[in-house]
Each structure stands twice: as structure tokens, then as C-alpha cells.
Symmetry: C2
Subunit: 292 residues, 2 copies
């Protein structure tokens, strides 16, 4: 199954961003991609660098412009497409939401980011209500290319999220992402951060015997207060033993396309049957904040 | 804090194995190590390559020869020492158990392997009763060098185990290991397996903001039925962002010693406060075998 992730930089307008994404998606489909994944909040800037109420104007409903635009494209090309929006669910309740379009079947479902970060330059707790635990939670979405475990960015640091998706039958793990460097960190720290980010997600692939697809933003975005994030790109696709199948660099817009062997998870889980040996009788304290 | 892991091959007798370990531990202590970790079942061969009742003769009680030998050494050198034994707990109940000696405080505690593998050449379910969920489970052990999250080999594939140790306050993750290649696999598969093994454990370091120490066996061991395992060494120590601090190769006995900055976890967990944002309201299904 050919799959692609698109790494892009932010442009001046939503229309410009959509136009670039559409060109890349068409290119991917032309090369045989059946699944294409866009990065986190690909319609606009990464506005969470500062806390400003005006940015709520960027939000759109579940059935807004991003969905109508990309659902039509997914139908036309008959490919599975994973998009990301700043969702206005109600006045005062906004989410960071991924949308899944299932080719000519149309809209297949959505996922609301469950783990919300908050650290200097990434003030997401101000903007995003965490996804409901009891409504959608960690529920994979069925499509023509398989059952997709769609998560978003900060979720990528949580083995619990990947595992719950795998237990619910996800066949691929997908993380639309917007992560970058604070350029006041030195080279060693930047290298460790990038390494950690990739390792933890490849680790989820290994622990769950599933491929993982990660498109990340690229380029520098400067906020009104002068805050700069250098989005580190390095979008990648890894196989079910965590092996890198493809990886972009830190500087360039990239269409990353690989052939994923969807039968490989079956053989990997046969030689390493981790799910068989889980100690479900001994995991109940995972629902605690701390064991103290 | 200087810490060491010892990668060694199996010798003809328990006495020979102990002698080599003792020499290496003395060497490590001489170089300033305050913590030394031995590999899984370091007193003897990796007997689980075949199922044979005679091998139960190799088992020893919790306070057997391995403990008395290495507890005395730990006291003498005043270092923390993590050992591994085939434990006879009762007639018909055997465990794969790690022992922790806390320098001149003596024996500090033990951990019984919770996840037990079973695949061709690694017939551990025949030999090892899984650790009790309600007695010790995933409980870290306090020592002079900190609270140790001691786990064993197959546990290393389970994010749940690492997380439970971290939630209970572990300051280091430790995995005595015996893993190797089936030489009928081709080079690519062997490379993927080694990579997966290292990535998943470095991933635990990242997800939990903790250093991880992993001594693994090295050398070929041939069983009575001709089964060969080429233990792949590659013992390593990684920091709390999963960064490699030291790594042995696949061929040689090695004393791997590094200085671990125990204050680093504090700063890493401040910049990436993953534990803060866990969705403990949404993890209850982690105690299910599958969500189907």
C-alpha cells in the first residue's frame, strides 16, 4: 500500500496553504498513493506561540472549509486523506482535531487530540479543550486502506495512546505534527530533542507491531511577540519493527512516499507476540496520576 | 553517578562465570562505578533454548550462592549491584528474578520477571512462573544511588512496565537481558531486530524522562538439540531523552561505564512534562486484552 506524508511550511493565507497541499496530494495520488497524511493545523499558522483571543477566529466547524475542500479531493482521487483542523465545537469549546476522508466513501470520522501540551511557545492548553474520554477517546477509524489509529502531535509522547489504538485494532499509527526547536537551545539539545521525538514514535511502532506515519511542519514561524519556532521537519514513515522506511530533512518541503507492506505486521506479531503476554492483571495502576 | 553494565559470554561453570563477573565488577568499582548491572541469568547458560526438566537443577533459592557471593562483594566495595538468578521459590514454582544489593546495607530487594516470552529457542514459559501481580509486581527498589526500576528482558518490550515503574518513582530503568539472533534470519532481519530492541527501550527512556541501563549477553550458545543463539551484545546506557551514552558491540565482552547526570531527569521533565498531561480518565481499557 503506497502511503505519503506531506511536510510543508506555512504560507500567507489558508487558500495558499490549501493550494500547496492539494498540489502535493495530487502528485502523491499520481504516484500511486492510496493514503496521504497532512501535518497538524496545515490550513494556517501555528498560532499557539502566543495566547491571543483573536486566534479563535481561525477555528472552523467539523464540516467547514477544510473538510469540504479535502473531502471533495479525496472523493475525486479515491484516496484516504488525513487532515487536521482547529475545530470550533461550540462557543468556548475548541479542539485540535484530525479528519479522515475515505476516498469516494467521503468523510469517515474524526479524532480530537487527547493530550494537550503547554510550554513556552506552545500554549495549546489556552486554545484546545482535550478530547472527551467517553465520546471518542482513542478510537481508530475504518477506511479502505485499513483501520487508522489517528492521533495528534503531543499524543506521540504517550505509549498509552498508541497501545489503546492498537488494542482497538488500529493497523497504522498516524501523528500529524507541529514541533520545532527553540533556537536558544544549543546544537546538542536540539539533536537530543529531535532524536527523542523520533525514537519514542518508532518505539510505539515496535511495541505494537504497527507502521507509523508522521508528517511534521517545516520552516520558521515568528509570532507577534517575536517568539520563533524553527519547525524541524524530519517527517518519517517507519515499519512495524520501528525501521525507518523514509525520512525528510529539517529544511525542505517534502512529499514523502513509500510502499508499506501491510502484511508485515502479521509476521512481526507472530515472531514477537507482545500482545499475547501483556499482564492485564497487573496494569490497573496505569489509571493513576502517580503511585505514591 | 558512575554506572556500569557488564556484557559477558557464558563460561563452562557457575564458578567461572562468577569469577569473570567479580573481576569486572572490581574493575568497574575501581573506576568509580557506584552502580553495576549484570546480564540476565549471568551465573549459567541460557538453558531456555530447549525444554528439559533437568535444567530445573540450575535453580537456586533467593538466598542462594549468587546472592551470598554478590551481596558480600557489594558490601565490600560499597556499590549497588543488580544480579539475575533462576529462582526456585517452591517445588514447581520457579522465577526469573533480579536481586538488588545496596552496598554495605546488603540485600535491598528483588523483582520477579512479569512478562514471560515463549518462542522458538526461548522457551521461557516452561521454566518461569510469571511474577505475582499483587505481591511485588512492578515495584521499584530503593538504594543509595536512587530508586531502581529493575525489570528483566522481555519486560523491555512493554511500555506498561516502564510506565508503572516511573509512576512509582523509579529514577533509573534497568533491564538485565539475554537476547540474540537466530542465524537463519538474514542480515536485514537481524538488523531490524537489533534496532527494534534498542529503539523500544530508548523510547521508554523518552516517555518517562529516565535513563535506561541494559546489559545483554554476548557470544554463541549451542543447545543439546543443535539450536544456536548468537547473543547480540550491544549493551547500552541511554539518558532521559533516549540519547545513547554508551554502547557495546555485538562480538566482545565489555565493561561499559558512564557518568549519568542524575539531575538531568529533573530538567528534562520540566521542559517535557509528559507525566502532567497523562489522560488518566481515559486509560482504563489498558487492562483489557483487546478492545474488541
Amino acid at each position: 500500500m503506497k502511503a505519503a506524508v506531506i511536510q510543508q511550511q506555512n504560507r500567507a493565507t489558508v487558500a495558499d496553504n490549501h493550494q500547496h497541499s492539494i498540489e502535493q496530494i495530487r502528485q502523491a495520488a499520481k504516484q500511486g498513493a492510496k493514503l496521504v497524511v497532512l501535518q497538524e493545523l496545515h490550513s494556517g499558522p501555528y498560532f499557539c506561540q502566543v495566547e491571543a483571543t483573536d486566534f479563535f477566529d481561525l477555528a472552523e466547524p467539523l464540516d467547514g472549509l477544510t473538510r469540504t475542500t479535502f473531502e471533495a479531493l479525496a472523493r475525486e482521487l479515491d484516496i484516504v486523506l488525513v487532515c487536521s483542523i482547529f475545530e470550533k465545537r461550540a462557543t468556548g469549546v475548541y479542539h485540535n482535531t484530525a479528519l479522515v476522508m475515505d476516498g469516494d466513501n467521503g468523510f469517515a470520522g474524526f479524532y480530537r487530540k487527547m493530550h494537550i501540551p503547554d510550554d513556552p511557545g506552545f500554549y495549546e492548553k489556552f486554545y484546545f479543550t482535550p478530547g472527551d474520554a467517553d465520546r471518542i477517546g482513542f478510537t481508530p477509524i475504518d477506511t479502505k486502506v485499513g483501520r487508522l489509529g489517528v492521533l495528534v502531535c503531543w499524543d506521540q509522547w504517550y505509549p498509552e495512546a498508541a497501545r489503546l489504538m492498537a488494542l482497538a485494532g488500529a493497523e497504522l499509527l498516524i501523528y500529524p505534527t507541529a514541533i520545532g526547536w527553540d533556537m536558544s537551545d544549543d546544537d546538542d539539545e536540539r539533536s537530543r530533542q529531535l532524536g527523542a521525538w523520533q525514537i519514542v514514535q518508532r518505539g510505539h511502532a515496535v511495541a505494537n507491531g504497527l507502521p507509523v506515519l508522521v508528517p511534521n511542519r517545516v520552516g520558521v514561524e515568528v509570532a507577534s511577540d517575536g517568539n520563533e519556532i524553527n519547525f524541524w521537519g524530519n517527517s518519517f514513515i517507519a515499519g512495524p519493527q520501528g525501521e525507518l522506511l523514509a525520512q525528510a530533512n529539517a529544511d525542505e518541503e517534502t512529499l514523502l512516499l513509500v510502499d508499506i507492506d501491510m502484511a508485515r505486521s502479521e509476521s512481526v506479531r507472530r515472531i514477537w507476540p507482545f500482545l499475547r503476554d501483556r499482564r492485564v492483571d497487573a496494569y490497573h495502576e496505569l489509571t493513576k496520576r502517580l503511585i505514591d
